[in-house]
Amino acid sequence: MTVATPPAPVRTAVERRPAEGPGRGIKPSGWTGLAFIAPNLLGVVAFTLIPLISVILLAFTDWNLVSGLGGIDFNGLDNFVAIARDPGFWNAVGLTLLYVGVSVPLTVVLGLALGIALNRPLPGRAVLRAAFFLPYIVNTVAIGMTWLMLMNPRSGLVNQTLDIFGISPGWFASSHWALPALIVMAVWGGVGYCSLIYLSALQDAPSQLYEAADIDGAGVWAKFRCITWPSLLPTTIFLAVTLTIGASQGFGLIALITSGGPGDSTTTISYYMYQTGFQFYRFGYASAIGLVTFAGVLVLTLLTWRAQRGRALND
C-alpha cells in the first residue's frame, strides 16, 4: 500500500507574518478595520438601524410623540386591523399604484428611446447627453416651482400652447389632472437618468452579434428584438426596480406643489404616511403604514425580479 505524501505547503505572501511583508508593524487586528469603518458604521446604526427598529416597534403602539416615551402603549395588531379598514389608506394605495404604474414604464420606455438615439453619432452629442441628464440633478424645489408656473391653468405656457388645440387641463388645480401632472414631472425628471444608464449598457452590447446579424441580413427591428433588448434586460430590470421603489416613496414634489390635493387626489401612500405621522401625530399608525408599504414594495420588487429571470442575453 502506498501512501501519497502531500506536498509541503508553500507559504504565500498572504500568509506571511506581517513583520516579513510590506505592512511591517501593523498587526492584522480586527480593530484596525473596525476603526476605519467606525464612522460609517456609526452613521448606519444611528440613521438607519435604530430608526428601522424603532419603526418596527412603534408600529405596534399608539404613540403620538408629544406624550413622550412614557406614553408608548403597545396595542398589538390594532394598527394593522385599522389599516385594513381605512378607506384613506386604500385610496392612497390605488393612487400610488397608478402613479408608479404609469410613470415607471413611461420613464423606462422614453429613457430607452433616448438612450438609443444618443448612442448614435450626432452633432453635439455630449451637450445633448448633459442637457437630458440635467433634470435629474436639479433641485426638487426649483423643478416644482418651474412646473407650477408652466402648468398654471390660465397663464402657464403649457396651457397657452394646448389652447391652440382647444384643450385646457386644470393641472394642479383639478383633482382629475393633478396626478397626471405629477406623472409628467416624474417622467421628465427620470428620463435623462434612464437614458444615461441605457447608454452605458448599449456600449457594452456584443458588437459581434450585430455583425453576424448584418451578414444574415437582419433588419433594424429584428436586431433590436433579438440582440439589443435581451442585452438590455438586466439594465431594464434594475431601472424598473429602482424607479418603482423611488416612485412609491415619491414625496417632495407632492409636498411642495399639491399637499396631497385637490381633495385627496394626490395623496399617495408616502404623503398619507406623512400626514398621519407629522400632521395628526399618530406615529404608531404611521409606522404601521410604513411597514405595510415596505412589504408591498418588497413583493413588487421580487415579482419583477422573478419575471426577468432567464430572459437576459447572458443567461
Binding site: G25, I26, N64, L65, V66, P153, P262, Q279
Partner: protein, 433 residues
C-alpha cells in the same frame, strides 16, 4: 509600537471622542440653566426682541434667550421633539389649536391656575364668557397673549373709482353685492368669503352638543354655497387660481398689486401695508367689520390666540412666570409691530395706531374707519376648548372646500362628507383619549 492599533487604544480613542462630544454638552447645560429659554414663532425683529430687552432691563437678574421656530408643521414638530427630548425650554408659544390640545393634554404645559388666580391684573383670564385661556379639566394651561379680531380691508382707491360707499356694517348678502360692484375686468371684488359658520356659531363651532361634529348645521353648507356662487359670478378669485398660485399663502401680494379689493383678514397682515419701501403700493386701506349672517350669532370670527405656556420641566419657574406676566402686561406693546394686539388691552389708542399702522398711518390707512372698527368696537372673540381630532377635521374641511370651490362637487355632498369624516375623527380621538 508605533502604528499599531490595539483594542485598548481603540477604546481609548472612542472614549476621547465621546468625551469631546459630551463636555461641550455639559457646559451648554450649565450655561442654559442660568438663562431663561423662550421659544416663539414670531421673528425676534417683529417684537419679541424688544420685549426681551425691556424684560432684562427691568429684571437684570434674569437673562433671556429667545429662539424662533417657524410656525408650520415642521417647526411645531421641532418644538415638540425639543420639549419631549428634554431640551432646556422654559416658556414657549402655541399658535394652532391642534398643537394646543396635544401639548396641554400630554403633560407639556404647567398648571398656571393658582398663579393666575393670585394676580388681580390677570383676572380676565378667568372669564368664562369669552375665555382668554386654554383650560383643561378646570386647570389653566395656556394664556392667550393676543386678541385677533377679524375685519375686511378695502382698497380705497378702487372703492372710490367704483363709486361704492364704505359700509359701516353689512350682511353677507351686502358683502357679496359690494364685491360684485367692485369687480372689473382687471380686479376681483373679494379674495374669498369669510367663514360664515364661525361668525354665526362662535367657539367650538365644529363640535355639537351630542359629542358628534356640528357640520350638519346648515350654515356650513351656506358658507360653501356662498363661496361657490361668488366664484361662479366672478366676484371672488377662481379657486383654481388660488390653488395654482398658492394664493392662500401670498394673499398680501395680490392685495398690494390691486388684483382684488375686499380682503377678509386679521391684524397680523397689516404689517405688509404700512411699509411702503418693502411693500410698495399707492392706495389707502379702509376697514369694515366682518359681515353678519342673518339669523346667526354676532361673533366676530376672530379669536384670542398666540398662547404662552410654561414647560412643567422648567427649573426656573419663578423667572418663567415673571417673563410670562411681563409679556402679558407691561411688556406687550412691542408686539403690536407684528399685528399682535395685547389680550389685556393694556396699551393706549395712540400706541395701537402707531404700533399696528406704522410711522405714517395717514399715508396708508383710512384712520376714521380704523378707529371705528378696531379701536372703538368690542367684537366678540372666540377661544376653542373642544379640540378632538382637530387636525384631521381641518384637513377634511379644506379638502372638501377645495373640491366644492373648484366646481367638482356640490356644496351639499361636500359638507356631508366633512360631517362623516369629522365624526370618524372625533370618535377615534375620543376613543383613544
Amino acid at each position: 509600537m508605533r502604528g499599531e492599533l490595539s483594542r485598548r487604544r481603540f477604546l481609548a480613542g472612542a472614549g476621547a471622542v465621546g468625551a469631546a462630544g459630551l463636555l461641550p454638552g455639559c457646559s451648554g447645560d450649565e450655561r442654559g440653566s442660568e438663562i431663561l429659554q423662550v421659544w416663539g414663532g414670531v421673528p425676534a425683529a417683529s417684537g419679541p426682541g424688544k420685549v426681551v430687552e425691556a424684560f432684562q432691563r427691568k429684571f437684570p437678574q434674569y437673562k433671556v434667550n429667545y429662539t424662533r421656530f417657524v410656525n408650520d408643521p415642521r417647526g411645531n414638530l421641532k418644538l415638540d421633539t425639543a420639549l419631549q427630548g428634554g431640551l432646556d425650554i422654559d416658556v414657549y408659544f402655541t399658535y394652532t389649536s391642534a398643537s394646543l390640545a396635544l401639548r396641554a393634554g400630554s403633560g407639556m404645559a404647567a398648571d398656571l391656575t393658582d398663579r393666575v388666580k393670585a394676580d388681580l391684573e390677570l383676572a380676565l383670564f378667568l372669564d368664562a364668557e369669552q375665555p382668554r385661556a386654554f383650560v383643561e379639566d378646570g386647570r389653566v394651561k395656556a394664556l392667550a397673549t393676543a386678541r385677533e379680531p377679524y375685519f375686511v380691508l378695502v382698497n380705497e382707491t378702487l372703492r372710490r373709482q367704483a363709486g361704492v360707499e364704505l359700509p359701516r356694517r353689512w350682511t353677507i348678502d351686502e358683502f357679496r353685492a359690494t364685491a360684485r360692484s367692485l369687480t372689473t375686468d382687471r380686479t376681483v371684488g373679494a379674495y374669498t368669503v369669510p367663514d360664515l359658520a364661525r361668525i354665526s356659531l362662535g367657539p367650538d363651532y365644529w363640535y355639537g352638543e351630542d359629542g358628534k361634529s356640528n357640520f350638519d348645521d346648515p350654515v356650513f353648507e351656506q358658507t360653501l354655497a356662498t363661496g361657490r356662487a361668488m366664484i361662479d359670478e366672478g366676484s371672488t378669485f377662481r379657486w383654481s387660481e388660488v390653488l395654482a398660485r398658492h394664493l392662500n399663502t401670498y394673499q398680501q401680494n395680490s392685495f398690494l398689486k390691486a388684483e382684488f379689493n375686499l380682503w377678509p383678514t386679521a391684524p397680523f397682515n397689516l404689517r405688509y401695508l404700512y411699509d411702503g419701501k418693502l411693500y410698495p403700493h399707492d392706495f389707502k386701506v379702509g376697514f369694515v367689520p366682518p359681515p353678519t349672517v342673518p339669523g346667526g350669532g354676532d361673533w366676530n370670527g376672530g379669536s384670542y390666540n398666540n398662547f404662552v405656556m410654561m414647560n412643567p420641566k422648567s427649573a426656573k419657574t419663578e423667572a418663567a412666570w415673571q417673563f410670562i406676566k411681563f409679556w402679558l402686561t407691561e411688556g406687550s406693546a412691542p408686539m403690536l409691530a407684528g399685528g399682535k394686539i395685547p389680550t389685556l388691552g393694556n396699551v393706549t389708542d395712540d400706541q395701537l395706531v402707531t404700533g399696528l399702522l406704522g410711522k405714517e398711518p395717514d399715508k396708508y390707512f383710512d384712520l376714521d374707519s380704523f378707529r371705528r372698527v378696531v379701536l372703538q368696537a368690542e367684537p366678540k372673540l372666540a377661544t376653542d376648548t373642544k379640540l378632538a381630532g382637530f387636525p384631521e377635521i381641518t384637513l377634511a374641511y379644506n379638502q372638501q372646500r377645495d373640491l366644492c370651490w373648484l366646481g367638482e362637487k356640490a356644496p351639499g355632498p361636500a359638507i356631508r362628507e366633512v360631517y362623516r369624516l369629522a365624526n370618524a375623527a372625533i370618535a377615534r380621538n375620543e376613543g383613544s383619549a
